[in-house]
């Protein structure tokens, strides 16, 4: 275990009164407070009455769970949550279908121009989103017109503009490739002797072994998709497909600018799915961060 690694603090920890260790714990708990206080207060304020929030109470006098029902109604959260769920599911399914094969090819196959293409793919990670925002908006409008004339549905105010541009994620490909490369060569040799090709090997051996990294990329993708604000603001003008981030912003700015307790309840509801997912996947998630150092 990493905890048993020799670390500089061990020498101080053996002294009779471990002042150093006490200071360390004090600072760490202070850090815990600063990290969690805003979230604690959000939860607390979501159960208060409006006057309690504006008076800056730390704890509600009585728990008003009704705030949640009221906020859910007023913010049309049923619609926005459903939108976000739909967008997230389409994005993630597409992302896995697109990224897993690419990651496999980059990790385990030999083909002409592999290193160049991989470098080009990684280079897209360095291009800031601002530089691609406007052209992508124009591209999406144009594709929307094309699909309107061919398939009968547009892209703006619709799922394709919110999902298709995010299906190829250089970050996910990179993350999965790192894992696929670690799969022992013996497995591939055995599979080849049994007559399996690459596709068969990917489906029958690699995928079952890769639950953890796939779960990590799904978590990253989920957070990114749930968090989206800038791009959905640009490509949606109606509530039909607007995700939860846009819905919450709209609720705070125009629907209930003064009902702070309802704002907090709405914010808690937005956070909840992420929090649950995070607690279930936090181990592989933090390892994913540690091994790549990147978020999606």
């Amino acid at each position: 275990m990493a905890d048993q690694r020799i670390s500089p603090a061990r020498a101080t920890a053996r002294k009779p009164i471990p002042w150093g260790t006490l200071v360390i714990y004090a600072v760490l708990i202070l850090g815990l407070l600063q990290a969690l206080f805003p979230l604690f207060w959000m939860l607390s304020a979501s159960l208060m009455s409006l006057t309690e929030v504006t008076s800056g109470y730390l704890l509600p006098g009585e728990m008003r769970f009704n705030n949640y029902a009221e906020a859910w109604q007023k913010a049309q959260f049923a619609q926005f949550m459903w939108n976000s769920v739909r967008i997230t599911v389409i994005t993630l399914v597409g992302q896995m279908l697109v990224c897993i094969p690419a990651a496999y090819a980059f990790a385990r196959m030999h083909f002409f121009g592999r290193n160049t293409l991989f470098a080009v793919m990684l280079a897209t990670l360095m291009i800031p989103d601002v530089a691609t925002l406007i052209p992508n908006y124009l591209t999406v409008i144009w594709f929307g017109r094309l699909s309107e004339s061919l398939l009968g549905f547009g892209w703006i105010n619709n799922w394709p503009s919110l999902t298709i541009p995010f299906m190829a994620s250089a970050f996910t490909i990179f993350l999965l490739r790192q894992f696929f490369m670690q799969i022992p060569e013996d497995l591939w040799d055995a599979a080849r002797i049994d007559g399996a090709g690459h596709l068969r090997f990917l489906w029958a051996v690699v995928l079952p072994l890769s639950r953890a990294p796939i779960m990590t990329s799904v978590t990253f993708g989920f957070i990114g998709s749930w968090n989206a604000l800038l791009w959905p603001l640009l490509v949606t003008q109606t509530d039909a497909w607007r995700p939860i981030g846009v819905g919450l912003t709209k609720f705070v700015n125009s629907d209930a600018p003064t009902e702070l307790h309802l704002q907090m309840a709405a914010a808690v509801m937005m956070i909840l799915p992420i929090l649950v997912l995070y607690f279930f996947t936090q181990k592989s998630f933090t390892q994913g961060i540690a091994s790549t150092g990147l978020k999606g």
Partner: protein
Amino acid sequence: MAARAARPPKTTSRRARLLRENLTAYALISPAMILLFIFGIFPVGFAFFVSLHRWRRFPGDYMGLGNYVRALGDLTYVLFFWLAVGALIYAAVLFWRLLREDNPAERRRAFSAILPGAAAGGAVLTFVGWSAILLPLILNIPQRIRGQERVPGLFVNELFASFQMPQAADAGNLFLALLIAALILIPFWRRLLGGEKWDVHLLYAAGAAVAAVVGVLLMQLTLETISAAVEAARIAGEALPVWSQIILISAGVGLLAAAYGLWTRAGRQDSSDRRTLITALAAVVLLIAGYLLAAQLPTALAAADRNVISGFGITVMFVLGTVPFQLALGLAFGYLLYQNIKAKSLFRVAYFIPYVMPFVATSIVFTLIFGHRPLSIMNQVFTSLGLPLQKWLLEPKGVVELLIPGVPDVLSGPSLALIVIMIYTTWTYIGYDAAVFLAGLGNIPADVYEAARIDGANSWQMFRRITLPLLSPTTFFLTLIAVIGTFQAFTQLWIMRTPAAQSSVDTIGVTIFETINSTDPNMGYGSAMAFVLFGVILILTFVQNRIASRSVFYG
């Protein structure tokens, strides 16, 4: 086992197997690569293309560097002049690298790569040119078919018609001709004269050709814009000293780099006399550079867009007020977590939460905690400490101005509203930085500490002399990510900005978004601003890389 024995022995040759592996691999990567090209790489060129046009909601006329001049004033000429010179220098460097072979035979082979390289580079260039001609035609299809009866195939017919329009067809034929020439020339040349390093030679030759043409075109564009501006100023009866500006600002930046070079050289001198001398020299050079820039930049930026200038200023303050703090706190917590403590993973999981939470939701919480009401949490804290109440996010005044009333505007510093957003941004990233630092600390071998302890080092010495240097790759990585991310931050600023703060928190990212998400959007101008921001981020990445190559220790 039986199944394997029954299978007939493979007779496919190695060549056929290679071909099949190649085809399968390309089939597997093509969806990802096509999407990444459309939404990740192509947009960079497209953004530049849009920025050269009068492009509001729909594509309009070509207007050269007009959008850039509107954003940056006369500084545009300096920047584009150097962009063109840079491309030409890069072409020369590639050419020099191509012919650097020691062996005369190898040099002859390298020299022979010029023709196929030029053909390949020409194919790339004509392809770009063809796309640039096709783009407005294709993008205009929705306008062309507006009002016509909706026939299913109309759009596609128009799409094909665009390819056949004379100007597009000519460019397309030129591209095809060069592509075929390259495809015929390269295998022939490779067999006759190629040698072992044929691919490197070809890449250098093609790269040099592309860079040279791009440099010449950019230079032509810059010179045309400059002469038009000088002409317009002459007619208006004003003097526009573009060339003296270019020379003086370039000299200023060059001296700045020279001062940095001298300063790092001073640190490496052995004798203290020489160190003092060189440091003094660096100071003098720095003063001259500072004088030149301070005298020239305000006039060069006189005609620039106020919103752009203040946007960049606010962005720089935002980055400077966020990145160092988040890294320092992240390192502190990461280092403490690395100690031999209990409940380590509990702390790590908890610290990480702010980073995972949606920015939209947590920004709203901070808006309330830093509320302007006298009883908001932060104002209660201030009251209990005996400090005056603040308007926080509604305060457009700079913090220095709040502390010392009456200071000049230049010195007033970031507004209190921006400070609150800085605190929020730092809060979201501390746990992330701590987690990455913790991973980096885990990679430092324990025996280094053991050896230092035997030598009698105390814990501060070990931190300063072992941990920090061995952690420098992690620090460098986090700095890079933080600077790039903070430069284009949007969500928290968009949510926490208020009319009362009077655009004192409008970073360049917010300014760009305002330009394109209004009732009268201006895509051309927004793209120009985005492209300038892209350039700034690229330059910063480059500078950070240069500094890191000297100070990062990859043990």
